[in-house]
């Protein structure tokens, strides 16, 4: 896998398509939430798509992903089947976690997608351990660990960065710094607001990246993955980004101004990339319309799959609390 971005017509359109899939999928999630098809907490990724899509370009099938409760974008960009995600949020047995996890807990063994983890910072030690195993069992594999900047307040963040560097483990830490930990602004929570500097203090190569630019993220992720795969130990990316919607569906957004949100929307990675591709003759109107209609068809099929799904039998409620054997 190359450590450079080759932004040809196909790749440019691929990046746009992947971001658009997430954006449109989540618009449907809001509808389904309002229709009470989806319940519980729903954390949307709108605005942050460039991070998941950019990072995933540097991964291949052997790699592992550890995600957070805001996991829709990561799962889709990793290639987890969209129908299994909608079914999961419906609570159906066809869901990617059999309906036991919901929006915050997507899992997919085949994609090495180790969860949607909803304890802030709790995924970092897992990623360190997966990388420890991979160093023995899967040469060259990288574990990507996503977390928000709120995780930097947790002890597990510091413990994990130290351990990963100390043992030179193949972890790519990706901090999605969207400037608010729920409603707490970055500068109210962190004495050092440049999160990547904390990683640098553990001697881990660390960069601050424009998280609103998928190409910048991809370039950084490829640099990072190449360094990790060549045995140099972990790498840390702080992607500066912004969530356009509320923290969850229960958030009046009293902690930020409409003006601030509008300012960030001017940096929305989707129209930016789309315009750039059109201006550079890498995307025609017809191609864009086809892309949109293909994505819409995928979403329609995913919702239909969830609608047709079954409820898990209540007798199976305690199944998998204890396993009979470890899956191969």
């Amino acid at each position: 896998m190359s450590d450079k971005v080759h932004l040809d017509r196909d790749h440019g359109q691929h990046l746009l398509r992947e971001m658009l899939r997430i954006r449109r999928f989540e618009a449907k999630c809001v509808e389904l939430y309002q229709a009470q098809k989806i319940r519980g907490f729903l954390h949307l990724y709108d605005g942050e798509e460039a991070v998941a899509v950019g990072v995933m370009q540097a991964l291949d099938a052997r790699d592992a992903v550890v995600s957070t409760y805001r996991d829709h974008g990561h799962a889709l960009a990793r290639g987890v089947d969209m129908g299994s995600l909608v079914a999961e949020m419906y609570g159906k047995v066809e869901g990617c976690s059999r309906g036991r996890g919901g929006s915050m807990h997507f899992f997919d063994r085949a994609k090495r997608f180790y969860g949607g983890n909803a304890i802030v910072g709790g995924g970092l030690p897992l990623a360190v351990g997966i990388a420890l195993a991979d160093k023995e069992l899967r040469a060259g594999a990288v574990t990507v660990c996503f977390f928000g900047e709120g995780a930097a307040g947790e002890g597990e963040f510091h413990e994990s960065l130290n351990l990963a560097e100390l043992w030179k483990l193949p972890v790519l830490f990706v901090c999605e710094n969207n400037l608010y930990a729920m409603g707490v602004p970055l500068e109210e929570a962190e004495a050092e607001t440049d999160i990547y500097r904390k990683a640098a203090a553990y001697r881990t190569p660390a960069e601050k990246v424009d998280g609103m630019d998928p190409i910048a993220v991809e370039a950084a992720a490829r640099r990072a993955a190449a360094s990790i795969r060549s045995g140099n130990g972990p790498y840390f990316l702080e992607c500066r980004t912004y969530r356009f919607r509320a923290h969850s569906m229960f958030d009046a957004q009293l902690y930020r101004t409409k003006e601030e949100v509008e300012l960030w929307k001017k940096r929305d990675p989707l129209p930016r990339l789309q315009t750039w591709l059109v201006e550079n003759n890498m995307l025609s109107e017809e191609e864009l319309r086809r892309m949109e209609s293909e994505i819409d068809a995928e979403i329609v099929a995913a919702v239909a799959f969830a609608e047709a799904g079954q409820w898990e039998a209540i007798e199976d409620l305690e199944r998998f609390v204890l396993m009979d054997e470890a899956p191969e």
């Binding site: 180790y114 970092l124 897992l126 195993a133 199944r319």
Partner: protein, 335 residues
Amino acid sequence: MNAEKGTAAPLRMTYREACRQAIREALAGDPKTFIMGEDVGLYGGCYAVTKGLLEEFGPMRVRDTPLAESAFVGAGIGAALAGMRPIVEIMTCNFSLLALDQILNNAATISHMSGGQFAVPLVIRMATGAGRQLAAQHSHSLEGWYAHIPGLKVLAPATVEDARYMLKAALNDPNPVLIFEHIVLYNAEGELDPSVTAVDISTAKVRRPGRAVTILAYGNSLPKALQAADELARDGIDAEVIDLRVLRPLDNATIFQSVTKTRRCVIVDEGWKSGSISAEIAARLSEDLFFELDAPIRRICSREAPIPYAAHLEAAALPQMPHIVDAARRLVRPA
């Protein structure tokens, strides 16, 4: 070693040595097994359980960790998820609270929450219990707490045989298994029957058969219960002593069978009485065996205070042999 069945002489060793041999066997037998924790390598283990293993297996298999319980327990979970069979040592169960997030929110939940896609075949060993004047931050018995949690298995080896062989069974189990080793037992000696090379981690065991009263115990309360039974025997009371061994899942069948026979039960538990594993067992007996009982269930637990340093206070805080004798005698011969 003379391995011929039935004829070999029993091996005498300490509980500590049995733990060490179990870890050594696990490391030698499976390249996917490694041990990590604070001071397990160069220092040889806080309680000297892992002494010599670093020299034998090297720093990749015997990993000293920073003082970062949450990260190294979580790393054990991650490594187990990705195909390894790790052993994590936590110096004492009081320190395990720093890793409680990982143990409860990850180890115990991921197989269920992922719909069975992932298993966490992880063993966490930790020292538990009081009796060495280590005061309130190194002496507690938290195994009953962990036994509250679905998704975990909780073991409490009380004999040299269980110290020697429970680890193997735990590593063969696809679930997270917590092993609580009592600090007072490390120096205890016992005999290993050379014909035994494995134990189960699903049953309680009758350590002394009897008919008059059942005494349920585990960990360092087991030797106290057995001494109490000897004392009661001198008084003509024939007590049955059961070693619980496995605190989750509890072996209802063995417990119920014994209490159905004796119709009286004393539960000995070094945890605090309120909300303890002894409370759970007493509740099960009263729910399911109420009409078999001839007397109230009695519990001998630690006093409801942080374990104090001073020797006389510490001794007074813990279940002791005379308390067990007294409780059992009153059940059999009410005044």
